[in-house]
Amino acid sequence: MTHPLLSVRSVSKRFGNIQAVNDVSFDVQQGEILGLIGPNGSGKSTLFNCLLGQYQPDSGSVALKGSNITGKSPSELNLLGIGRTFQQLSVFPEMTVIDNVILAGQEHSGSMISRLFGSPDAGLTKAAEKLIGFFKISHLRDEPAGSLSYGQQKLLDAAMAFMAEPSLVLLDEPAGGVNLTMLGNLKERLQAFNSEFGTTFVVIEHNMEFVMSLCSRIIVLAEGSVIAEGTPEEIRSNQTVIDAYLGA
């Protein structure tokens, strides 16, 4: 039998008196773009952090292609082919754009020893250049990442997530604070990855327009639990979802 790419089973996480994530289960199929939406405080980011090793879930399990990855560290998960972006800006501000991207790939090639004595760029410069070209920030190649505009940094952040050729990328509010032109660019890039390389996405996003047009399937969280699941059209007309948003 074939396993789903990612399967989440009964994951729960509690902080003090707050049940941030409550018994969440879902699957992510190879090649799909899954949206994860919900009102503020519904547990989306906590769930992400449980999936990505930042937090240990209190209970439940996560499996990648059928093998258990619960409790693995973020770096181990990355080496298994899971990329991610962050809600807040997450680049290395004093390093150049190209160095940011090379760092995102270097741990995937060679050994500790070859990384110390081998080529300083670990042979990744070409791939990194191609990637920043793909995200249309080549002209910023040698600028410190911190000097880029917000939207440019978001693109860089996304580029870094793709450097290691991941099979699954989790995007945490990729559209937040990005202007319309950039947004179009970003969506187009993500869709291109999806169609060209079959990269699978899970996207947290508040920008409904963006989510609805990007994703093939959407899961809605409220107060830590899954309250709805379906295509964008189904979600748009789901009364529970509308109530949850209005109630919040």
Partner: protein
């Protein structure tokens, strides 16, 4: 190696190092040697602090470890060339052990742990006199003799130190520009992001700490034959702070920042000697002013100035890379 502007500067620097002691008295030679020794220690701390962002107040303790191990071995007839690697390796291993707290705690707390370690090392050196000579210290350590080249004379020892310094700098340069160096910087600038990109931050933190410590051990290993007398007080907490000051004053995160910083910290008392009792005050005020107005240290300041003077973009980038490596 391509013949670039940066390489030209490095060659000029090397030539100056070779020419500097010629015709100078022993004091200048001694001071220059001690500058290079402290530069090695400070460059090590710069890797830990400036590149990897881990605050350590233990560099003088690692110097002590290197110095005492070298002293005990060479006093027992073992050649420096054998004693030194043992001293460096011991510092490295100890650095790994002390680095473990760095995995649990960050920032200030790491500073406290390393501070405590420095004082503990001092107490052991002072109290265990059966091994370390206690408060009297150890003396009479020989300077290494390489057959054709005996470092007994001060000037010879200076060139020997230059040789070690150059080898060390090349090694350090290799580390800093390797993917390891990039991972260290990633750790400093955004640890969580680095980890999400597959960097094993635990291992990289430990390595940054241990390599920096090993450099401290190497500096100590040179200190022993330089001064030919070591005692616990020379490695007390104050000296860790002094090395930290060298890194900050010179410019943390710049490859040659600590070398500049060590020069300033060692030479400044001498330059300000005409102010008699006031030089430490001037020194303290200078540090505060420097930190307030130029938090990136002297090399950082130099970069800003040269960027303003050399408006041409090509030149600027070249310099920037050269300084930051």
């Amino acid at each position: 190696m391509k013949f670039t502007k940066r390489n030209l500067w490095l060659l000029i620097g090397l030539a100056l190092l070779i020419l500097a002691p010629i015709g100078q008295g022993r004091y200048i030679v001694y001071t220059l040697t001690s500058w290079l020794v402290f530069s090695i220690a400070a460059m090590g701390l710069n890797l830990t602090l400036g590149y990897a962002g881990q605050i350590s107040l233990a560099q003088s303790a690692f110097m002590a470890v290197g110095a005492y191990i070298t002293a005990l071995l060479t006093l027992n007839g073992i050649h420096w060339i054998v004693a030194m690697p043992i001293a460096v390796l011991s510092s490295f291993v100890l650095g790994l052990l002390i680095g473990f707290p760095a995995l649990r705690v960050k920032g200030h707390f790491l500073a406290f742990v390393t501070l405590a370690f420095t004082t503990l090392v001092f107490l052991v050196l002072r109290n265990e006199d059966w091994l370390t000579g206690g408060p009297y210290g150890l003396s009479g350590m020989p300077r290494p003799d390489f057959g054709l080249f005996n470092t007994g004379k001060n000037i010879n020892f200076y060139y020997f130190t230059v040789f070690i310094f150059v080898i060390f700098s090349l090694l350090m340069y290799q580390i800093v520009r390797s993917p390891w160096g990039r991972a260290f910087k990633g750790l400093r600038e955004n640890e969580i992001r680095a980890e999400s990109l597959g960097v094993n931050t635990r291992r990289i933190t430990l390595l940054a700490f241990a390599i920096g410590s090993a450099a401290g051990g190497l500096a100590g290993s040179l200190m022993t034959p330089l001064v030919q007398f070591i005692e616990p007080g020379s490695f007390a907490l104050l000296h860790s702070l002094r090395i930290l000051l060298m890194v900050i004053v010179g410019g943390a995160g710049f490859f040659f920042g600590p070398v500049v910083g060590a020069g300033v910290v060692i030479m400044l008392p001498e330059v300000l000697r005409f102010t008699e009792g006031y030089y430490l005050m001037i020194y303290a005020v200078t540090v505060v002013v420097l930190i307030i107005f130029c938090p990136k240290g002297l090399v950082g300041l130099g970069e800003i100035i040269s960027r303003k003077i050399l408006k041409k973009k090509e030149v600027r980038k070249d310099f920037e890379q050269g300084a930051k490596l």
